[in-house]
């Protein structure tokens, strides 16, 4: 649940592609409170994934302002540190590195920190325990089920203690039963780790799990509930 002031502040954000022909974001305004669980919904091409990419500093807007965790993303050049320390991504496709073990995959975000190898290992195991996968630490991702891989991805997203988790259709490639497990896990971790959770989805029952839903259409917030 939200615990305070805004952690995300977006004002008149605009982003277009293909020399301006595609207006992915068209003057979008949004505020997200710290600790909030927000669902972003909308039809395909509405701009919800683009919005998520902007919040996560994976892309840069053309116009407008966007402040995340106190950092003005439009004015900051080096955003790697921001992504490393403030953001945890959970993708639809888990995007685990296939030749690394589960443990090694979870350790990957910690390479830009000052932690020693043993400290990285300890923290990674802590997260694997939290997602109930500590016994699979030495396995490679291809040996895991879809749900297990997504749990590893969630552990990876949380390993640097980010202030925001951005989940882009995290259950999109899972069956409903496994999807429910993942959603519950995300929700529980959101409570336990006190992170702000912003999740993109096009499924109403998934969106309804959040504290607040915003609907995006044609690059703008349509309504909120």
């Amino acid at each position: 649940m939200s615990t305070g002031g805004n952690i995300i502040e977006i004002h008149e954000l605009k982003k277009s592609y293909d020399d301006g022909k595609i207006k992915a974001l068209n003057g979008l305004n949004l505020e997200v409170k710290k600790g909030e669980f927000l669902s972003i919904m909308g039809p395909s091409g509405s701009g919800k994934s683009t919005l998520l990419n902007m919040i996560g500093a994976l892309d840069v807007a053309d116009e407008g302002t966007i402040k995340v965790a106190g950092i003005d993303l439009m004015k900051t050049k080096e955003l790697n540190e921001f992504r490393s320390q403030e953001i945890g991504f959970v993708f639809q496709m888990h995007n685990l590195i296939p030749n690394l073990t589960v443990l090694e995959n979870v350790e990957i975000p910690m390479y830009e920190t000052d932690l020693s190898s043993s400290q990285m290992r300890e923290r990674a195991m802590e997260l694997l325990k939290a997602v109930d996968l500590e016994d699979k630490a030495d396995q490679i991702p291809t040996k895991l089920s879809g749900g297990e891989r997504q749990r590893v991805a969630i552990a990876r997203a949380l390993v640097n203690r980010p202030s925001i988790i951005l989940a882009d259709e995290p259950t999109g490639s899972l069956d409903s039963k496994t999807g429910d497990v993942i959603l519950k896990l995300l929700s529980d971790l959101h409570e336990k780790e006190n992170v702000t959770l912003v999740m993109v989805t096009h499924e109403p029952y998934v969106g309804n799990m959040a504290e607040r839903i915003v609907n995006v259409l044609d690059g703008k917030i349509q309504n909120q509930k």
Partner: protein, 396 residues
């Protein structure tokens, strides 16, 4: 897992591709090391001719094509001692034992300070083609022979010889054994080793005995001249040639070694050209391997950027993987080269040419491998580091 371990692990995600890239570079490294070992060995051998005791100047008949092919009156040996700057002289008669029953004088090829060799019809393990030199045993130091295991032959002995280390090894002969030369049995009284592969492949006996055997009484093929410490080689050589115009010509050991090294330098240059070609081909293989690797890992690189990896860390990872491949290739190529050279030289030349194991050869190979790794990985690494995270994550 540490960053370094990741770099060591990644090149072998596709084992076949990694192995092929390694083979490509290893071939180039193998060429560099193998040719370096052989030419280095030859250079070390020619350098050993400039031994402290060996003659600096060799005198031969003017117009003779090689040091063994001419004939010089033996009286000149004593006369040359009167030339200013000359410390000591010795006459050498050279012959080739072409068969166990026959012999020939002056069939030796162009040479070195003391002897020539040809492997003849019988190969390195037979007496055919063995280089035989007749020389006063008290003057052997002028031929570079300082230490002899056993004892020397006597000046008047008609059936004693000393043999070089290579001859001893190839013919499996020791002190006390006999060898048949010019249809006659000779007892081996000693074995010498000078480090010069040509000298060590020869046999020495009494000058008088060889003159008699080859019907060359009062004749020598060449005169070895040792100069005083404060004398100048060029000036002494000039004095000799001036004193005996149209009769005697000189060549210095240094000049001979220099010519050989010059020839070896030409071989060096050719070696480098061949090696460079092999490296370029192997290097293109590395670039191709790394570009393919980056291409296949586009989405993965997007994830690394999404979790906060800096561009330089990604660049370092790809470059590191490239260098890992080439350094492994250096190890493989070096091992194959060393084994190949040792085996080939012992089979082809009977051990007359010792390969060089100078550390510089191997260091050069590893430096080349490292540089190829950097150059080959630079463009793919740069491309990877500059990938847009969103585009990389969308890549299928």
């Amino acid at each position: 897992m540490s960053y370094l371990k990741l770099i060591l692990k990644n090149p072998f995600r596709n084992k076949t591709r990694g192995a092929l890239a390694i083979v490509g570079i290893a071939i180039g490294i193998m060429v560099i090391v193998a040719l370096g070992m052989v030419t280095g060995g030859l250079k070390e051998s020619t350098t050993s001719t400039l031994k402290a005791g060996a003659a600096e100047i060799n005198v031969m008949q003017t117009g003779s094509s090689s040091m063994g092919s001419g004939r010089v009156n033996e009286s000149r040996v004593t006369e040359l001692q009167n030339i200013s700057g000359v410390k000591e002289t010795a006459g050498l008669l050279k012959a080739t034992n072409t068969s166990t029953s026959g012999s020939s004088v002056g069939t030796s090829s162009t040479g070195t300070t003391s002897g020539t060799t040809s492997m003849g019809s019988g190969g390195p393990n037979s007496l055919g083609g063995l280089s035989v030199t007749g020389m006063d045993p008290g003057k052997l130091s002028l031929a570079g022979i300082e230490n002899v295991t056993g004892s020397l032959y006597s000046a008047t002995s008609e059936n004693q010889v000393i043999i070089g280390k290579t001859v001893s090894t190839n013919l499996n002969k020791s002190v006390g054994d006999t060898v048949n030369l010019f249809g006659k049995d000779f007892t081996i009284t000693g074995i010498f080793e000078t480090g010069n592969f040509m000298t060590d492949a020869g046999v020495f006996m009494s000058l008088t005995t060889l003159q008699n055997l080859t019907s060359n009484n009062n004749t020598v093929s060449t005169i070895a001249v040792k100069i005083n410490q404060d004398a100048n080689t060029t000036e002494v050589s000039k004095s000799i040639e001036t004193s005996y115009p149209n009769e005697l010509s000189t060549t210095s050991a240094e000049a001979i070694a220099g010519r050989m090294n010059s020839a070896l330098s030409t071989i060096d240059a050719a070696t480098w050209a061949i090696s460079l070609l092999a490296i370029v081909i192997g290097g293109v293989g590395v670039i191709n391997t790394m570009i393919m690797s980056v291409f296949e890992r586009t989405r993965e690189i997007g994830v690394l950027k999404a979790v906060g990896w800096k561009e330089r860390r990604i660049l370092g990872m790809i470059l590191g993987e490239s260098v890992v491949l080439t350094l492994i290739a250096a190890v493989v190529g070096t091992i194959v080269a060393v084994v190949g050279v040792v085996v080939l030289l012992s089979l082809s030349f009977g051990g007359t040419i010792e390969p060089s194991f100078a550390p510089g050869i191997f260091l050069e190979a590893f430096v080349v491998a490292f540089v190829v790794g950097i150059i080959g990985g630079l463009y793919p690494a740069y491309r990877a580091s500059r990938l847009s995270p969103t585009e990389a994550l969308r890549y299928e």
